[in-house]
């Protein structure tokens, strides 16, 4: 049967933002996967907590100062993140470059803080189940922090090397979405690791 051409799509754009672009759906899928992993790891935390009194067994929770400093910086980072998202949507080159640069530096600072956070957990991963799940939760989040930082770094380098097209601005906004996830997912984990043991006392 011969086809009958009833439409012409050639005037459609070749790049778009947010849910109109395929990559966004990929990022969303990834966020769903990792979000589920966080939820289950949190559930495991509670499951193990019901078995062990006191919690932590040696009564010393992770140091509050470094964890809270990390959390404060993560929350603060949402400001330049939202700003970068906005300027990338507006396809403004210089502000996007600046925004990406700021996010790269903040990411680096967070990684450094995270390094010290690991030292201040006051328990080894092989001490007991409490130690294992605490290290697991922190490690899980760190993996995302790290991958998001590398992603941001790559985009920053590219942005400084090239003139950006809409498809690249869309990649930047997708990265901002992922950053939202990394930042927001931290908050309940922070509560679990630092505050739940203190509230149990």
């Amino acid at each position: 049967m011969k086809p009958e051409i009833v439409g012409d799509v050639s005037s459609l754009p070749d790049a778009a933002f947010s849910h109109r672009s395929l990559i966004w759906w990929g990022v969303l899928g990834f966020i769903l996967i990792e979000g589920t992993a966080f939820l289950l790891a949190g559930g495991s935390y509670f499951f193990l907590m019901n078995h062990t009194t006191p919690w932590p067994p040696h009564r010393v929770p992770p140091d509050l100062l470094i964890g809270s400093a990390f959390t404060a910086l993560v929350i603060a980072s949402e400001l330049p993140n939202v700003w970068t998202d906005r300027v990338a949507h507006a396809e403004r080159l210089l502000p996007t470059r600046i925004g990406l640069g700021i996010m790269t530096l903040i990411g680096l600072a967070l990684l450094v803080l995270r390094w010290y956070e690991f030292q201040a957990l006051n328990v080894g991963w092989d001490d007991n189940a409490y130690g294992s799940i605490v290290w697991a939760l922190l490690a899980l989040h760190t993996v995302h922090l790290l991958t998001d930082w590398v992603d941001t770094l790559v985009l920053t380098v590219f942005a400084f090397m090239h003139d950006l097209k809409r498809t690249h601005y869309s990649d930047v906004t997708d990265n901002c979405l992922y950053w939202h996830f990394v930042a927001l997912a931290w908050l309940p984990i922070y509560a679990l690791l630092y505050w739940v043991p203190r509230m149990l006392k």
Binding site: V6, D14, R20, L22, W25, L48, S132
Partner: protein, 637 residues
Amino acid sequence: MSAVLPREPGAAEIAALDAQLERTWGTGRGLWERLSTVDHKIVGRRYVITGFVFFVLAGVLALMMRTQLMQPDSELIGPDRYNQIFTMHGTTMMFLFAVPIMEAMAVYLVPLMCGTRNISFPRLNAYSYWVYLFGGIMIWVAFLLNVGPETGWFSYVPLAGPEFSPGKRTDFWAQMITFTEVAALAVAVELVATIMKQRAPGMTLSRMPLFLWSMLVTSLMIIIAMPAVMLASSFLISDRLVGTHFFNPVEGGDALLWQHLFWFFGHPEVYIIFLPALGMVSSIVTTFSRRTIFAYTLMVLALLATGVLAFGLWVHHMFATGLPRLGSSFYTAASMMIAIPSGLQIFGWIATLWDGKPRFKSPLLFVIGFIVIFVLGGLTGVMLAAVPLDLQAHDTYFVVAHFHYVLIGGAVFPLFGAFYYWFPKFTGRLLSERLGRWNFWLFFIGFNVTFFPMHILGLAGMPRRVYTYPAGLGWESLNRLSSIGALLIGVSVLLFIINVVRSLRAGDVAGDNPWEASTLEWATSSPPPPYNFMHVPVVTGREALWVPGPRQVMEGLSPSHREVLCTTVLTAEPDLRQPSAMPSSWPLWAALTTALWFIGSIFDARAVIWGSIPVAICLIGWLWPTHPEPFRERGLA
């Protein structure tokens, strides 16, 4: 240059367009080109064939088990080897065959059924296949070297922990999980994106074929379920390799944490295997009844309900562990409830057949086999949902019978039906109907002879996972019968392979649409050209190709650049010309470095850190933003 629409393209225009599209989308014949292809059809075919190979390997293991169990007190296979065999049988069937092959069929069919040119993330797709292949090879090499896992496909702790399962055996198993889950999750994300954004103009959600609905729900289930098993297997590896205590009761861990995490994945897993099969059944029933599915909306709701309910049942695998009674009752009710959507779907298919004009070709035979076998399995599932009855039947051959009825009946029979149905589309040739009938009947009879006696054996006291059993308990004759049935199944599968090999060479030429089906994959040649569709198909009804009148299409996608059309999610209106990935060897390099990373981590914990660097390099190379050529304004020629 925009012509006046609507118009019919001329023969010369079509020929020129075909040549251009072949150049843009084709895969060359050289080895390197074949290794770097991102064509979903080539990757999908590889995936299907590899999955089928694992099916045959796992089937051979089953034949070995059945041979051992023919006699009581058999000394044919020793306990260690037998325990490896049953572990590898279950592991291969569940992780290397059942889920991957369903995803593989979807990788091939979904873009075609959507009317698009390629899957949403073509390079990720290629990566997924390589990762799956390497994981499967790893565990089979381990098995053949006598260091295969031997603690069962669900590997309970503490048996699978560092104290009672020394050596690397369980580590290979746990890491194989990582390989296959990464591969499955990647495909799941691709399918969601493809189904949501790449449907043909006019294919609104209510016009979507049920196969696409089932793949959408399946993919969402994979996304929510698989993180659980990845977490569990990571906890297990770390308990074994770096001394964590997730599952060690002495240091505050809990053996049941494993079971909860595993079964939170494990129960949805069987529906992940089952739902694509339901989509296949709907496609076959529609085509061979020559009637649209009865109560379409209800069928969609049943799929959604099954997908959601499947997550609330997992505790029914743990009824014998001493959980509180009230909690268990909840899971009984939930486990029974899931029979409702399944029961409605069974009605729907039979009603379609009843009110349609059935043609009894091989695909439909397998669907009828599915109904007869799966429903029986579903009913024994309802029995097992009741805690008191489960406490007798759990971990016996009754359960083995149940899950083979639902898995083989519910997934493998539809899969074989799907093979007979879509083989012409994949290859351009029809499978032999005569051999198909023999294939079906041998499989159907062999299956029932193998597995029905197991219901009785279980209630007669025979536990599962036993390498032998004593004489004098009355189990001999039924075991022998079951083993004869297994042989029949083996012959049936052999017949299928013969059918495939002969038909590839000398089968009847199929043409575009030999079954006169209604979905979009039949609107192009068999096999499809590399670019799938010359023009973008437009859909104006639920059964796209059964709508009378000329076939409406749209033009305007570039013939010289790889582009796919994205449409809006709800109303399927054309929205975007999305560039589609060019062939690339990054997926293969990334998969190789991933395999080195995962396998290295089994032997040395530091490889977790160092092994990630080559992977990161490959991913950066792969994902480096392209510096696009200016996408010129439109014009076809």
